[in-house]
Symmetry: C2
Subunit: 419 residues, 2 copies
């Protein structure tokens, strides 16, 4: 539908929902009736199936079958079986992904392996990333490079336009988050990866805000490593384990210091020296939190009912609509769009600054319109096409308009920690 000459009102949004091919997938989720949830980019909503699965893990697998479940319920295989299920969503092959540990820990593994692979070239001493990257990506690089004390430097850039000027033959690794957590800016994965390779650098992508949100083609882009999160757009549950991708051709050289027994070639032989398993499971370390891990499948199962192209199409329609409505209906207020207008540069979120962004977001949340706030002054709204309706967009903007028009927010609100 074109929105050029159409009056956009709530009825129009209802019609969009009626024509939405993904509309029925909302039934797969348990969402509170009084909430418009635009924070799936922080914590994805709950798949209905997760309750039954949690009960099964706790009662049958843990309670009744006990230790046998490591084999009979596939617990030990879960990191790789979930990885195989996730792989197509990010353009990866089976045997290239494991779901395990946290994103931070997986970043450490990939960073360490990349530096190790580059260690033959003593000039390659820089890791390039963005100052605006999610902090833990930078912190993990800091932790690693400080600890090894071999002259590695972290170069922080302030704009992707700097990349052609800073990537050079001293670059060991370029590490970027595909979609920026604050702005929703989407990097060109293929072009940037090619730029890195042109200079002999390796390329690590953090897919925290893109897996399940935008189409990702890791192998087609010839990326070297990727990590990501399952509790945002993949709806795996609170703090559910993260994933790491190592393409087949890098696996033999993928060595990292977190060499725990789950990454051993023969973990049950109980040998006194480490020898990595040949495949992707060398990216594993220790025993995994099974209850949280098992629920990841409930989120992934829903993606089996659609595809990333359909999801992307709806995602852009939702964010287009949101941006257009905010700019039209809240035009008199000092809102600044920080998310790119160009589709090719936009993830599945829309962020606006407002001088009282924190207080306005608190007022929105108080009336059940849940987005979140990120320093500085950014109101962040995430759009999960699997369960967000066009009418939700309308209602959210109307709520925002009312709060702004009538100054229904506390200008002196104190900020509290939110994740």
């Amino acid at each position: 539908m074109s929105t050029e000459n159409t009056v956009i009102d709530r009825h129009y949004c209802e019609q969009l929902d009626q024509h939405d091919a993904l509309a029925t997938l909302r039934d797969e989720f348990d969402l509170p009736h009084d909430v418009i949830y635009l924070d799936g980019n922080s914590l994805g909503a709950r798949p209905k199936a997760a309750l039954q699965r949690a009960q099964q893990v706790v009662t049958q697998e843990w309670g009744t079958d006990l230790i046998k479940s490591w084999n009979t319920a596939g617990w030990f295989a879960l990191p790789s079986s979930l990885g195989d299920q996730l792989a197509p969503l990010i353009g990866a092959e089976a045997g290239e992904v494991v779901v395990t540990d946290s994103t931070s820990i997986n970043l450490f593994k990939a960073l360490a392996a990349a530096l190790h692979m580059q260690s033959g070239d003593s000039k390659r001493k820089t890791i390039i990333t963005e100052r605006s990257n999610f902090p833990t990506d930078i912190y993990m690089a800091e932790g690693l490079t400080r600890w090894v004390d071999r002259g590695y430097r972290i170069v922080l850039i302030d704009s992707p336009e700097e990349l052609p000027h800073v990537v050079n033959d001293e670059t060991a690794l370029l590490m970027l988050t595909h979609v920026n957590y604050r702005t929703g800016y989407l990097h060109e994965m293929s072009a940037i990866t090619a730029l890195a390779h042109q200079h002999g650098a390796l390329m690590l992508w953090d897919l925290a805000h893109s897996a399940g949100a935008v189409p990702v083609q890791l192998n087609a882009a010839k990326a070297d490593f990727a990590v990501g999160c399952t509790y945002k757009y993949l709806n795996g549950g609170p703090g559910s384990p993260a994933f790491i991708w190592v393409p087949q051709h890098h696996q033999a050289a993928f060595n990292h210091p977190l060499s725990g027994w789950w990454g051993h070639a023969n973990p049950f032989a109980m040998q006194a020296s480490f020898a990595p398993t040949p495949g992707i499971r060398r990216a594993l370390c220790g025993t995994q939190p099974i209850t949280s891990l098992a629920l990841v499948a409930c989120g992934l199962d829903i993606f089996g009912k659609t595809d990333m192209q359909a999801i992307r199409k709806k995602s852009l329609a939702l964010t287009d609509l949101f941006i257009q409505l905010v700019e039209n209906r809240c035009a008199s207020h000092p809102l600044g769009l920080v998310t790119p207008r160009a589709h090719a540069q936009r993830g599945s979120q829309a962020s606006f600054t407002h001088p009282y962004g924190y207080a306005v977001m608190q007022a929105l949340i108080a009336r059940g319109i849940i987005g979140d706030y990120r320093e500085p002054a950014i109101m962040r709204f995430g759009f999960t096409p699997l369960y967000t309706r066009f009418v939700d967009v309308w209602d959210a903007v109307e709520g925002l308009r009312d709060i702004l028009d009538n100054e229904r927010y506390d200008k002196h609100a104190e900020r509290h920690a939110v994740t």
Copy 2:
């Protein structure tokens, strides 16, 4: 009760259960009726409360309250609130323990911090541990020391009697598992820690098989670091997150390379450079698997109904009885006790070798008597005083006797992976 002049039979064991002060705690657990579970040292049984807690986390906290639960349900605080609850079981103070990540990852943090603290003394280049330690402890030390390439060496000893001869002024760290996973051998924590300190070495204890199984007094022993597991004797659930202990006086100097955003002084300020938080939370790294983490409390709650002295008393009574019955009733079979007879050297398990140990264990499991097998040739039986009855000991030994007397095991059984 003395067993010296008493006929030990099933009736006698029933009487022991009738006089057992901990007997009622078995009702806190959901155990299958047809199983004698002697594998709580691998995966603890399920507290009944865990089902309701899992349902609450999934439906109310995740499904309904969504992102708000990071604050309202205490998700973000969980690593430290659980750590405070766990602390008294290991002789630690509140503010000294966090429940987080896996034991392997926590070992890495403690190893790295210890080497960092010792780095002022260039002679201190060895990490001493046991060849019979659980492999991941050795593997993590290998991973760390290989990666930093500063001449660190791992010295593997074959008996604790070697300790006074190998610990010297080149020792950076002594790392031991308090109770050996195969043999159940229990180290003297205070004496060994004092030996390490006498030579200027730091002392790291792995409590995987002692937390919740034997009394542990980390502060009284003046230990430097400890890690451990919550899914064994603490009954936290399959693969539930591990813990790490750093005493107050070491926290300011506790620096490790896994410096993720959860360990930052101000994690929500989203600063582009890492600065560790002052307290124990600097041992945190990334986002934690909340569903698995939340269930840890259900196991810990049960310890609030007794104390480690009562647990230890029953533990020794159970293992004494088991050893005595096996040696009396299976006397004609080639069984070798590998667990120390001396109480002061025994954890909460009893292990016997048998030439067909694997096959015999499979036969036991097939009839619902669940222990496990560890290379080489070791049948391992764990005793969890919270839910194991004296009559279970009798029935388990009778099952073993029948299998051995009548050769009801498959001498050609192929070994499969077990965790």
